[in-house]
């Protein structure tokens, strides 16, 4: 396929000389909404060479996805439009092409992979047809040729049994497998460029590692350039050659990935790098955060967008927006103090403290556990209800015999991939699910089957913070009503006035303002809503809080603020946390001890430092390997093993050790017996017979 033959005369010579595959120049995108014009992208410029991987990094709403949809000319019509700029692809300005010319480029020269593999494939068409479609459209293949190519593509992306899989529908595939299908579609016409928009955000860490490795290998082998859009700095460090950091519709910084991570030249980049908890560094006292919130793009302030949140702000920052300028060779930054920053570093600008505080040891009461869980089992029946045919009901052993203790003042982390039962453990402790077996002892009393007043007392002392701050607050209630409701149910306050005072007090404690009691949840940002959720939990003066993925829906800079808040509250009120999360770095930062779960069972329990420094169980090791560390230099040296296979269905878990199907150490004996949790070293438990 020679692209040049398709080009219009005047532009063709320029195209053949340009070393760049894609050149985005001064791109401006506006969205017209009922509340005004949102300037979603303002003056973005970047270039991509053939075969390289370029990352676009930034938090939600910064314009990274919009700018890539603009390249494909797939902005939602009629609201979104490109108002200025050029997008040169192989020398042709994509913005000037006719719709038919553009359609020929889509899927053939530029392909796209989207974030949500669960919704990005058409549910009523076979996988085979969906892969064949671009081949039939662009390459004029016959059905047979296209089918043969589709099968090759499925093989290429590592799909087992491709022949049979071609005739299946998307719902018969797991999330990871669907993303492989998306990659096969993207690769089908041998494109020059693939734009991947958060391709692994919806996937588990071990699957994420598989998919990213696959994309990177394929793009290297086939010489395809990759534009990777992500919020995950670790992914950038592991996979990108060059990186563009975006903030509030503008570029903040640009350069080679290694250089940007080693020496950020924009305060925002420095702040981002600082606010992620990392697996490779000792834990400091608290996470350093970027205070404040990103600006509203409907009405942004003049000057540097980051200025209000920037500790190194000067008068010049507010006057006019600083242009993206070359500070060092091939290093661009949109900061007026970039040169100074290059000389003295972030510390010199006062962006971070020179000597991080060591963590304050927590006061633990090791005499008696606050919560003791013994052989807890929670099973769900599926397929129940009216059935004409028998044998259709079966059982999911969501939690299958787990035991642990939690001491007062401690944070116990509970990690694992989706479907491992971690959330069910939390819900069972909260008595939102009925335990099928085992027992839970809280403050010396068995609460497994407690009812009446005893259950009521228990529920007051154990509270929960949910994952999704968008759907876990009732949209028809004000913040004040949400926080006050449990207090009224339990008659903790004598009258409305006392309730109002208490709500105001709680709001202040979680870093919100008293006047926010009158607001409705949709008027608050994600981070603020999560603070409301925390205030609601605190209202009951609990001793134990189950935090179920409390920060996973939040942006990095907001995530750090919430983690710091939780830690401060724990210190102040001697709270005990069960911290459920899939992010190993966050769990490491906040926990004293960590429990690793897989398919309803505990794989390993140990003190935080022991677990992360010397993981014993092969699953824990694989999990830690799968997490990319935001440091390209370190990633380059790191030897990590990508765990193959998928998490088996909890409906039909493997016999013997549940992990044996994916375990690098597994032998025949692992298929026979279920390994019990044993104390391999003092206070370090693992469930594996091979160690």
């Amino acid at each position: 396929m020679d692209q040049l033959t398709a080009l219009g005369g005047a532009q063709a010579p320029a195209a053949s000389h340009s070393p760049w595959l894609l050149e985005v120049e001064d791109l401006h995108v506006h969205f017209v909404t009922t509340r005004g014009v949102v300037r979603a992208v303002e003056g973005i410029s970047y270039k991509v060479k053939p075969g390289e991987t370029v990352a676009l990094v930034g938090e939600s709403g910064c314009g990274k996805s919009v700018s890539s949809l603009a390249i494909m000319r797939l902005l939602a019509k009629p609201a979104g439009r490109v108002v200025a700029g050029r997008i040169l692809f192989q020398g042709r300005n994509l913005l000037e092409l006719s719709e038919d010319e553009m359609r020929e480029i889509r899927g053939r020269d530029i392909a796209m992979i989207f974030q949500e593999p669960m919704t990005s494939l058409n549910p009523v068409l076979t996988i085979g047809f969906q892969i064949m479609e671009p081949l039939l459209i662009h390459l004029g293949m016959t059905e047979e040729q296209a089918r043969a190519r589709a099968m090759d593509l499925l093989k290429m992306v590592g799909m087992p049994d491709p022949e049979r899989r071609l005739d299946q529908y998307p719902h018969q595939f797991s999330g990871g497998m669907r993303q492989r299908v998306m990659i096969a579609i993207a690769l089908s016409c041998n494109p020059r460029l693939i734009i991947a928009d958060e391709p692994t955000t919806a996937l588990d860490v071990t699957i994420q590692a598989q998919i990213l490795k696959l994309m990177k290998d394929l793009s290297r082998d086939l010489g395809i350039a990759l534009v990777m859009i992500t919020h995950n700095l670790g992914i950038v460090a592991r996979y990108a050659d060059r990186v563009n950091v975006m903030y509030a519709a503008r570029l903040a910084e640009q350069g080679a990935a290694a250089a940007v991570f080693a020496k950020p030249l924009h305060p925002y980049t420095a702040g981002l790098l600082r606010s992620v908890p990392r697996l490779d560094q000792p834990r400091g006292a608290r996470l350093e955060t970027i205070e404040g919130l990103p600006p509203n793009l409907l009405d942004p302030q003049p000057g540097c967008r980051f200025a209000p949140r920037c500790p190194a702000q000067r008068d010049a920052c507010v006057a006019a927006p600083p242009p993206l300028a070359e500070v060092e060779p091939h290093r661009y930054s949109a900061c007026v103090r970039a040169k100074e920053m290059a000389r003295v570093g972030p510390t010199g600008l006062g962006l971070q403290s020179a000597n991080p505080q060591p963590p304050v040891p927590k006061r633990l009461d090791k005499a008696r556990p606050l919560m003791k869980v013994d052989d807890l089992k929670t099973y769900f029946e599926v397929g129940a209800g009216f059935q004409v045919f028998k044998n259709t009901r079966s059982e999911v052993r969501a939690v299958d015999g787990i035991s642990f203790e939690v001491f007062r003042g401690e944070t116990v982390g509970l990690v694992g991939e989706s479907g491992c039962g971690k959330t069910t453990v939390g819900r069972t402790l909260l008595r939102l699910e009925e335990a099928t077996g085992g027992e839970m002892v809280f403050e010396g009393a068995n609460v497994t089957r407690a009812g009446g007043q005893q259950l009521k007392d228990y529920r007051r002392k154990i509270q929960v913070i949910f994952q999704d701050p968008y759907s876990s607050l009732n949209p028809r209630m004000t913040v004040g009503e949400i926080i006050a409701e449990p207090m009224r149910v339990y008659r903790l306050v004598p009258d409305a006035k006392a309730a109002r005072d208490r709500v105001a007090e709680l709001l202040t404690q979680v870093g919100l303002f008293e006047y926010m009691a009158e607001r409705y949840p949709h008027e608050l940002s994600g981070g603020q809503r999560q603070r409301v959720g925390i205030a609601r939990a605190l209202a009951m003066e609990p001793s134990f809080i189950v935090c179920d993925e409390p920060v996973s829906a939040l942006d990095v800079s907001i995530q750090a603020q919430i983690i710091n808040l939780l830690e401060a509250l724990q210190e102040k009120y001697r709270l005990t946390f069960l911290f459920i999360a899939h992010d190993l770095a966050v769990v490491r930062h906040i926990s004293n001890r960590v429990i690793v779960m897989y398919l309803g069972r505990v794989m390993e329990i140990a003190d935080r430092d022991t677990l992360y420094a010397e993981p014993l169980h092969p699953y824990t090791r694989a999990l830690l390997d799968a997490v990319p560390i935001p440091d390209p230099a370190l990633e380059a040296k790191r030897e990590y093993r990508v765990l193959g296979g998928e998490v088996p269905s909890p409906l039909n878990p493997p016999r013997g050790c549940v992990f044996h199907t994916r375990c690098p150490l597994a032998g025949d004996e692992c298929k026979m017996a279920i390994p019990g949790l044993r104390e391999v070293r003092p206070r370090h438990f693992a469930a594996c017979i091979k160690i």
């Binding site: 797939l74 359609r103 020929e104 889509r106 989207f114 990005s120 671009p134 459209i137 045919f389």
Partner: protein, 319 residues
């Protein structure tokens, strides 16, 4: 798939059994004795003695315990024998049969009209959202919702009369006997009913397509370079049809026996008219049979909808 069909078929049995029980016993709770209504109504109530009423009740089997009555009726119904109308004395199945063909034909024709109008109009309206095409189609469908079918029916008759000096034939001729005569009578009520029906479906189709066009897989299709026409025809329409199929199916079931006023306007002797007469005359056997008939239609239509769903959506097929 076979298993799915079998499962759904078996599920219809308890549903219909439940309907039979409910219909029978709820009718018995209705005030008004059918015999008294029949005899007193006719003769003005003067010289009908208690004995005559009792004798008539015994003749109709109404003096027996309720459960005996039920089982007798139910056993007969299973064999297609619904007894005799308490009013006309004719077999119920005969009374229904002579009217069912007409009602069924109007329902089928109205549905065809609705589908033929709604799918293309709803889709066009969605694709050209907020343009003049969309505005015109929306006006057409809102008018269809606002105009009652019987009023439209009267307008149609008046127009035919004043423009062509012709009115549709008054007696029903079977389609098999004389298609032309048959259609020239039934096309008009089908038009009057089908318009409203298509308006409902058009609006459903429009919102359904609009919703589907927001889906991620539509963006995927566009990113593959699929022509916009094919994006709609191949990727959007099949997904969008699911809710529309439900609306169309339930509406169809309603048309059997639900066209009381329209039948009046066009002077059609259909199921709807029979229904009203039976209720007015406390004709228990007739009401039972009619309610059961309509229920059977609803259950069957739902079965067909389920099958269509399974055909359209593989997620249901393989479950």
């Amino acid at each position: 798939m076979l298993r799915f069909i079998l499962h759904r078929t078996l599920l219809m049995v308890p549903t219909l059994l439940g309907v039979a029980v409910l219909v029978f016993f709820m009718l018995r709770l209705m005030p008004g004795d059918p015999v008294a209504t029949m005899l007193l109504g006719d003769a003005g109530g003067a010289n009908i003695s208690k004995e005559i009423i009792e004798a008539e009740r015994a003749r109709l089997g109404l003096d027996q315990p309720l459960y005996v009555q039920f089982f007798k009726w139910f056993w007969g119904a299973l064999q297609g024998d619904f007894g005799f109308s308490m009013w006309t004395g004719q077999p119920v199945s005969y009374e229904i049969a002579i009217r069912l063909e007409l009602s069924l034909q109007v329902a089928v024709m109205a549905t065809m009209l609705a589908v033929l109008l709604a799918l293309p109009l709803g889709t066009l309206s969605a694709i050209f959202k907020d343009t003049w095409i969309d505005q015109v189609i929306r006006m057409f469908s809102i008018a269809g919702l606002a105009v009652p079918s019987f009023w439209l029916g009267m307008i149609i008759i008046l127009l035919l009369l004043s423009v062509f000096s012709w009115i549709p034939p008054l007696t029903f001729t079977s389609f098999v006997e004389d298609p032309w005569e048959n259609l020239s009578q039934l096309i008009w009520p089908a038009l009057a009913v089908g318009y409203r029906y298509s308006a409902v479906s058009t609006r459903m189709m429009r919102s359904s397509i609009l919703e589907v066009l927001q889906e991620d897989y539509i963006r995927t299709a566009r990113a593959k370079g699929v022509r916009e026409r094919l994006v709609v025809a191949r990727h959007a329409m099949r997904n969008a049809l699911l809710p529309v199929v439900t609306v169309i199916g339930l509406e169809f079931a309603f048309l059997i026996g639900g066209l009381v006023v329209t039948e009046q306007v066009f002077n059609l002797n259909g199921i709807g008219k029979l229904f009203v007469q039976a209720v007015a005359r406390s004709d228990f056997t007739m009401i039972q049979a009619l309610v059961l008939l309509v229920s059977v239609f609803f259950v069957l239509i739902n079965f067909v909808i389920d099958m269509l769903y399974a055909f359209l959506d593989p997620r249901i097929r393989y479950h």
